[in-house]
């Protein structure tokens, strides 16, 4: 009797500890994520604002600053416009494909899968004024036959905008086509039965329903366009075309490195990224308004499959992926890049030497190992973050903070993170520069949004009933996670891991900033050889990069149930 009474009295104290522990855990977790994502940005701003914002006044009064800003905006808006039109048209075309050509739906996703460095270089080989393969072909046409070079010149802003837009069209395609899938087919049928034509349905019903996907997709694409680094760096230099990201890079390459100036240059992108993040929350606050899931998910246009749709998709695939890849293959088989395409002059010489070329194989293995390590860390972090965000309503303060931190790396250009990491980890307390760890940490940080979002999506699809049934059956949170949630989410883990691996083996911008001279990854060694002009070798390395990526994609398809893995973005 007495013991029972004592036991009952003692319980509240034990419970208090039980309640406290998870809270401490959550705070520690958010602290670690905050250290990874926010600290570099804060330290950069601190540096830029030091001495009465000296770095800002330096950066914004330099000659050419406003031209750089203008070019950046042109690149952002121009590529967004190209991407919106092409991406929406692709989604519509993919939806009108005849059933037996359904496999073509994969094509618009290829630019996400193919390393940007590779396709940008491919375009350089296609549209370089004199030796570009495509230019040579075009000069065979009678009205251009008298020209020595052109008609296209890849080293100009319009072309940089076009190829950036073509690549971003992939993202718009993903957002819009997953939006299509969420539209209840009966809504479309109801509009058709009520007398709307196909185009009428598209403009009056489908587009308004897609507003959230389009707004979100356009916001993301604009951020990516403004933060574009690869194409302006590789193509813009010969004509001194610079954008904010390339300016930042060059600021860090000066001796001594101008981190403060770099931070100041990047600030407009930082501010805009955070703005888009907030607007996204405000604009799409009331998600339920747009939930259109009904009895029959996804709609099909009733018109019989269109061959024209297949043509547009294949044309897009050719321009965005196949032609640049083909150009890379030709260059990799040439002794010099002269633009000659003649079977007799082709040689495997470069391929024979690529494995022994200084630094190439170590860079390839670095890419693979560092990406795998980062995936292994980012996956559990994403799982915990997704589990917490799933119960957002229970964490009134922690929820929104976590939400914000997790989304940051997606809305802020990788270059800014690169500069921030470079600065933070070359200084006390944690000097990691020169080790592989700094690359792994950047990679983990950049992957947190993907890891979290994909797992959050999978958890939402799983619903609460399975975990609740487990809790009601007497299992604690740990057992529930290990025996119920993890086994059921295994396909999602596989898909997320493979996607992250693919994205990381591509990674170029942040890698270029934080690498030490002795530690290269595929993207950075490629850049070094490109700078030194060894084009056939550059083409070989690009193709190896594509090969590694393809292996990752194959893993994604096998593990994650096909191209759906990419739609969880």
């Amino acid at each position: 009797m007495t013991t029972a009474a004592v036991g009952r009295l003692a319980r509240p104290r034990g419970l208090r500890l039980e309640r406290l522990l998870p809270k401490v855990g959550i705070v520690a977790f958010i602290g670690v994520l905050g250290y990874l994502t926010l600290l570099p940005l804060i330290r950069l701003q601190y540096l830029a604002l030091k001495d009465g914002a000296q770095a800002y006044s330096d950066a914004y009064t330099r000659p050419g600053w406003w031209t750089t800003v203008k070019w950046t905006i042109e690149l952002g808006l121009g590529s967004l416009a190209v991407a919106l039109v092409v991406g929406t048209a692709l989604a519509w075309a993919a939806n009108s494909l005849p059933p037996r050509l359904g496999f073509l739906k994969v094509i618009p996703i290829l630019p996400i899968v193919v390393p940007a460095v590779a396709s940008v270089l491919g375009w350089a080989f296609l549209l370089s004024p004199h030796p570009g393969y495509l230019n040579q072909l075009l000069r065979l046409l009678p009205w251009w036959s008298d020209r020595f070079d052109g008609p296209g010149d890849i080293y100009t802003l319009p072309w940089i905008i076009i190829i950036t837009g073509l690549a971003l069209a992939s993202f718009i395609y993903l957002f819009v086509s997953s939006g299509f899938e969420n539209i209840n087919g009966e809504l479309v049928e109801a509009a058709q039965v009520s007398g709307s034509s196909r185009t009428g349905v598209f403009f009056r019903v489908i587009l308004p329903l897609l507003r959230p996907s389009l707004v979100y997709g356009a916001g993301v694409a604009l951020l990516l366009g403004l933060g574009q680094f690869t194409a302006p760096l590789l193509l813009g230099r010969s004509r001194s075309i610079s954008v904010l990201t390339t300016d930042m890079y060059f600021a860090t390459q000066q001796i001594p490195p101008q981190y403060g100036t770099a931070a100041a240059i990047g600030s407009p992108l930082l501010v805009f990224g955070i703005f888009v993040l907030f607007m996204n929350r405000v604009l799409l606050g009331d998600h339920t308004r747009f939930v259109t899931h009904g009895g029959k998910g996804g709609f099909k246009t009733i018109a019989p499959g269109s061959k024209l749709a297949a043509f547009w998709i294949v044309l897009y695939g050719a321009l965005s992926t196949f032609l640049p890849m083909l150009a890379l293959v030709f260059v990799s088989l040439s002794r010099f890049w002269s633009g000659d395409v003649h079977p007799s002059k082709m040689t495997l010489a470069t391929w024979r030497t690529v494995t022994t070329a200084s630094g190439v194989m170590p860079a390839v293995w670095n890419s693979i190992y560092l990406s795998l390590a980062a995936v292994a860390i980012a996956l559990p972090i994403g799982f915990i973050a997704a589990s917490l965000l799933r119960r957002r309503s229970e964490h009134r303060i922690a929820g929104p903070i976590l939400d914000f931190i997790v989304a940051m790396p997606l809305s802020i250009p990788a270059v800014i993170f690169g500069v921030g990491f470079l600065m933070v980890y070359t200084n006390e307390p944690l000097v990691l520069y020169g080790t592989r760890w700094v690359l792994i940490l950047v990679y983990v940080t950049l992957m947190i949004p993907f890891s979290t979002r994909m797992q959050l999506g999978a958890m939402a699809a799983l619903g609460d009933a399975y975990t609740e049934a487990s809790r009601a059956a007497g299992a604690g949170p740990i057992r529930t996670n290990l025996q119920i949630v993890v086994p059921l989410l295994r396909p999602a883990f596989g898909g997320a891991a493979a996607l992250m691996f693919v994205l990381l083996t591509h990674e170029f911008a942040a890698s270029l900033l934080v690498r030490a001279p002795t530690i290269n990854v595929m993207g950075t060694i490629l850049y070094d050889y490109y700078e030194n002009g060894g084009y056939p070798l550059v083409a070989c390395i690009s193709l190896i990069m594509v090969g590694v990526t393809t292996a990752g994609v194959a893993a994604a398809v096998i593990l994650g149930g096909g191209s759906d893995a990419f739609k969880r973005l």
């Binding site: 319980r11 509240p12 419970l15 208090r16 309640r19 009331d286 309503s393 619903g463 009933a465 399975y466 609740e468 049934a469 487990s470 809790r471 009601a472 059956a473 007497g474 299992a475 604690g476 949170p477 057992r479 025996q483 119920i484 086994p487 059921l488």
Partner: protein, 382 residues
């Protein structure tokens, strides 16, 4: 076996339009009792069940199983669901698709560290009880809905919990299976005698299964009584409406005579109404009859002229809609009678005489208070 006592439990949901899901609710569930929470969607019944399970947390009040407090807002006690020793059956079955039926059923035993031999014996027993022994090695996806819900039932019962919670377990089944599984639940409760809380919006299920029914409205219990009492003496108009008394007849006294939507009413209402000028009758469709307009109603009944709006053939019966006055629509379910009977000849637009036996409806005053109900109406002529 323990009783469950809920004391002044409240639960609100935040968001843009905050709603009160449970409003100062008190409820005492006896050991071994089968209590049904009945109400339309959004009345707070599922939230109440989830608070008992520990899957939701109330803002105020307390919940105790026997002398063990599992939730107390003031003392900040909130025992997690896995430590409440409950069994639960979900609407979506929630069988884990990656585990065999045997693993699904034995899961609660593993979490409670029941010895292996003992556990497998209990699994076999409970599987036999719900008639699913041949299915033990299959995966949930290979089973029909009815089989899945039996497995879910077995999983809820296998660990012999103090309390079994049912969250609309039959609503995903088709009509025939629903009756079958319902009888099985009733039989199992009779044999095993567990304490149960069962949430449903189906009055037939509630009447069949419950030792007592709690009819909920806007987070409060509107009536807590045995199925017979609820059926015969619905405490409020809300309960009457929910339990099938869908016709609402508002009788008004004008210059000493009673009218229904302006039409004169024949029959005795004074003794029920007392001195009030308005009395509301709630009746089931089965209790309203119609007769040819020029015929008289049976002695002792309340009758009023009506216009036939529609008639649907239902085999043994006809579902007839009549209009009294300009607004009062009254549903009647009348015997179809033999071929050629008067009931089969009725036509839309035809004037008829509708009547009820005053012993059948439940009567409420205009404040909604029960005045007189089934079988308690003052005998005609006294």
């Amino acid at each position: 076996m323990a009783n469950v006592s809920i004391r002044s439990l409240s639960k609100r949901f935040g968001g843009k339009t905050p709603t009160t899901a449970i409003d100062d609710l008190d409820l005492e569930i006896e050991p071994g009792e089968f209590l049904v929470l009945l109400g339309p969607s959004g009345c707070g019944k599922t939230t109440t069940l989830r608070c008992i399970a520990g899957l939701e947390t109330g803002e105020e009040g307390s919940i105790a199983f026997g002398d063990r407090t599992v939730f107390d807002a003031a003392k900040k006690i909130n025992v997690p669901p896995n430590k409440r020793n409950i069994g639960m059956v979900f609407q979506s079955y929630a069988l884990w698709p990656h585990m065999t039926v045997r693993k699904n059923i034995s899961y609660p035993l593993r979490t409670k560290r029941v010895k292996r031999d003992q556990a497998s014996q209990w699994v076999e027993e409970v599987a036999a009880l719900v008639d699913t022994t041949p299915l033990l090695e299959r995966y949930p996806a290979q089973l029909s809905g009815g089989q899945q819900q039996r497995i879910a039932l077995a999983r809820g019962l296998v660990a012999r919990p103090d309390l079994v919670l049912f969250d609309e377990p039959l609503s995903n089944l088709d009509a025939r299976l629903r009756d079958q599984v319902r009888s099985e639940i009733h039989e199992l409760h009779g044999r095993l005698g567990f304490t149960a809380v069962y949430v449903t919006h189906d009055q037939v299920e509630a009447l069949a299964l419950g030792d007592r029914l709690a009819i909920m409205n806007a987070g409060r219990i509107e009536q807590l009584a045995t199925p017979e009492q609820v059926f015969e003496e619905p405490a409020s108009e809300y309960v009457a409406g929910f339990i099938g008394m869908s016709n609402r007849l508002v009788f008004e006294r004008q210059d000493g005579t009673w009218t229904l939507d302006g039409e004169p009413v024949e029959g005795e209402l004074d003794s029920i109404a007392g001195s009030s000028a308005t009395i509301i009758a709630r009746t089931r469709a089965e209790d309203v009859r119609i007769a040819p307009a020029d015929d008289g109603a049976p002695p002792g009944s309340l009758s009023f002229p009506a216009l036939l709006v529609d008639s649907e053939f239902g085999g043994r019966h006809l579902d007839v809609m009549v209009l009294v006055g300009s607004l009062t629509r009254v549903q009647c379910r009348i015997p179809a009678g033999e071929r050629g009977s008067w009931a089969r000849t009725i036509q839309t637009g035809q004037p008829v005489l509708a009547y009820v036996n005053p012993r059948d409806p439940a009567f409420y005053d205009d404040a909604g208070t029960l005045v007189s109900s089934v079988g308690r109406a003052v005998p005609v002529g006294s």
